[in-house]
């Protein structure tokens, strides 16, 4: 089922695309709500935030992966393996962000 494979690849790519820009310090879209300015930077300071940018990275990765799989003519991989990989990456993201919360309290 093409829809399921596209969803699983999209989920896996989204999870990676959401985690990596922040942890690797990749440049992303930033927004300063006080100065009301938009920028593109790896570092944010003060009240500026990179959440919108990280979300855009993740959406681009997820939609890109889903589109590639949707139009691919290569023989499909087993669904069970794909589902396990996608949910493992989601679990990795959850564990990482949970560990940051636990480290801060």
């Amino acid at each position: 089922m093409r829809e399921l494979r596209a969803s699983l690849w999209g989920t896996a790519a989204f999870a990676l695309g959401y985690l990596l820009p922040g942890t690797l310090g990749l440049p992303t879209l930033t927004y300063d709500p006080v100065a009301r300015t938009v920028g593109f930077s790896a570092r944010v300071s003060g009240v500026a935030m990179r959440y919108y940018g990280d979300l855009l990275w993740a959406c681009a990765a997820g939609l890109g992966a889903a589109a590639v799989v949707w139009s691919s003519r290569r023989p499909p991989r087993p669904v069970g393996v794909l589902a396990a990989a996608a949910l493992s990456l989601v679990a990795l993201d959850v564990a990482f962000y949970l560990s940051r919360l636990l480290a801060a309290v």
Binding site: M1, E3, S7, L8, G10, T11, V47, Y52, V94, Y97
Partner: protein, 158 residues
């Protein structure tokens, strides 16, 4: 100093909350239908119906949440939580991340679930159930964390 959408923050918060509750219940129903389908019961109509509701409400509440975020960041987090309750500010950060992951899981499960046939292989229906169930669990977690932070200091109040 004016923050974007600050003047309408209370209205935005109400709509965000209503859509959030809709997302919780629609995603839960979708997960229950996906689990039924994985156990061999007919659930294709429910998967289509709750798939539209779940993905629509999750995307809608995410958009309203994104609109509210600058006002939260300045008026709640910076002005209050970072000094009085830094752990609550960290909890809200976790809620944001879980919401983002829930968004892709619920939309992906809805997209895959609407195409799931009654005679689909067991591995496919189990994969849809796993996506949908994980998405619903994350939506629940994000909703409870959001309620806790809002009960402490709602955005739109000083």
């Amino acid at each position: 100093m004016t923050v974007i959408f600050e003047s309408g923050a209370r209205s935005l918060l109400l709509v965000h909350a209503v859509l959030g509750f809709t997302a919780v219940f629609a995603a839960t129903h979708h997960a229950a239908s996906a689990i039924s389908a994985a156990r061999g019961r007919p659930a294709q109509r429910q998967l289509r119906r709750f798939g539209w509701m779940a993905s629509g409400s999750v995307v809608g509440q995410a958009l309203f949440g994104l609109a509210l975020y600058p006002a939260y960041r300045v008026r709640v987090r910076l002005a209050d939580l970072e000094r009085s309750a830094p752990a609550v500010a960290q909890l809200f950060d976790l809620k944001e991340h879980l919401s983002a992951l829930a968004l892709v899981l619920v939309v992906g499960a809805s997209f895959a679930g609407r195409a799931l046939q009654r005679d689909a292989p067991a591995a496919e229906s189990r994969a849809v159930a796993a996506l949908s169930g994980t998405g619903a669990a994350l939506v629940w977690a994000a909703a409870l964390m959001g309620l806790y932070v809002t009960s402490r200091h709602p955005v739109g109040t000083r």
